[in-house]
Symmetry: C2
């Protein structure tokens, strides 16, 4: 009973680290079992198939990352603009770790499954969209204060932020170094301060131009 869910959790965690390092197709069931210290019998007791595992791993990942970002300091800032810029700053800060520790499971997964594993693709899309929706809420609030008249949509900015991150991860992997990612986030921050200007002379102003 005490070890009941322990094996399952260990398998999910091994799946996360292994897939983030080697991708989905190159990750074998046995590799995950070995890393988790359990046997295949245990694996197929908890998961119907390899695809079932990866779908649960995506769920697991979503809960994990939601928790990380919800508990971070920047999320408690009263000003929504600070929360948006704080998010980017937070991402910058964790770039000091190993490459496989700051990259995104969903981005890695979807690249090699989007055509062959529709359920995995949908799960990744769902996970990324949810994360961006939370980010978009802050952007919406910040826009209402700092750029009420701007023509861009908050959601498109949420996706833009996420795209810069995902693209930066690719270069971090290509170079085995996070410096390009850091530089990219500095550019991203510069853009965000441009479209959310701090010198708010328009806070309560009404928009005249359509």
């Amino acid at each position: 009973m005490q070890q009941q869910a322990a094996s399952q959790t260990k398998l999910l965690q091994s799946a996360l680290t292994t897939i983030r390092r080697k991708g989905y197709a190159a990750t074998t069931v046995e590799t995950i079992c070995d890393a988790a210290g359990v046997t295949k019998g245990s694996f197929f007791h908890h998961f119907r198939s390899k695809e079932d595992l990866v779908l649960q791993a995506v769920e697991f990942w979503n809960r994990f990352t939601d928790d990380v970002f919800a508990k971070a300091d920047f999320a408690k800032a009263p000003d929504p603009r600070d929360r948006v810029l704080g998010y980017v700053e937070f991402r910058l800060a964790i770039l000091d770790r190993e490459v496989s520790d700051f990259t995104c499971l969903l981005g890695t997964l979807v690249q090699e499954t989007y055509q062959s594993h529709p359920a995995v693709r949908a799960a990744c899309d769902n996970g990324m969209s949810g994360h961006i929706a939370r980010l978009t809420a802050d952007i919406t609030a910040a826009k209402a204060i700092y750029a009420p008249c701007a023509s861009w949509t908050p959601e498109s900015v949420g996706y833009f932020i996420q795209a810069v991150l995902q693209g930066s991860f690719i270069f971090a992997k290509a170079k085995l170094d996070a410096q390009v990612a850091r530089d990219n986030l500095v550019h991203l921050r510069a853009y965000l301060t441009t479209i959310l200007p701090n010198d708010n002379q328009g806070g309560t102003e009404t928009c005249r131009i359509q």
Copy 2:
């Protein structure tokens, strides 16, 4: 004699399309052979191994893309700023095709090979860096005219552009739709026009602030 290199080229082309659709690990040698209409005997006559094939496929890809961008109209614009913005515009225009037709082989490849296949990782890094170097040349020329005093480096902007593209590809795959990618490139264009302002009052000016 006439069919000599034909098989090799067909194998390389099948490799490109298959890997872009399913990734490296999920692509089998036989799948590539079937798609190319040749047998495994032919495959292993032209390539020592699967990894040898993919390395040559990266070379093949580099030659192909270099050619595409060199021959495009935007590359002939006299103003370097027009060439930089034209590059983004060109990328926007080709988003109308199938997802697997506008995404990048190197970005897909490096995600799943960066830890397990060092030679492939290096080849991808090399290919992307070369592409960015050509882009950076135009950015450097544009900066000298439109933003000589700005503190950003042209190379970092080249990488930023490329990161936005790579990240956009991931979302195009996740959603099986290019709309997010389009929106991202519009944001990218907005940023580029911000850091390369058109109202050049500083063209021949000397930079006073360090």
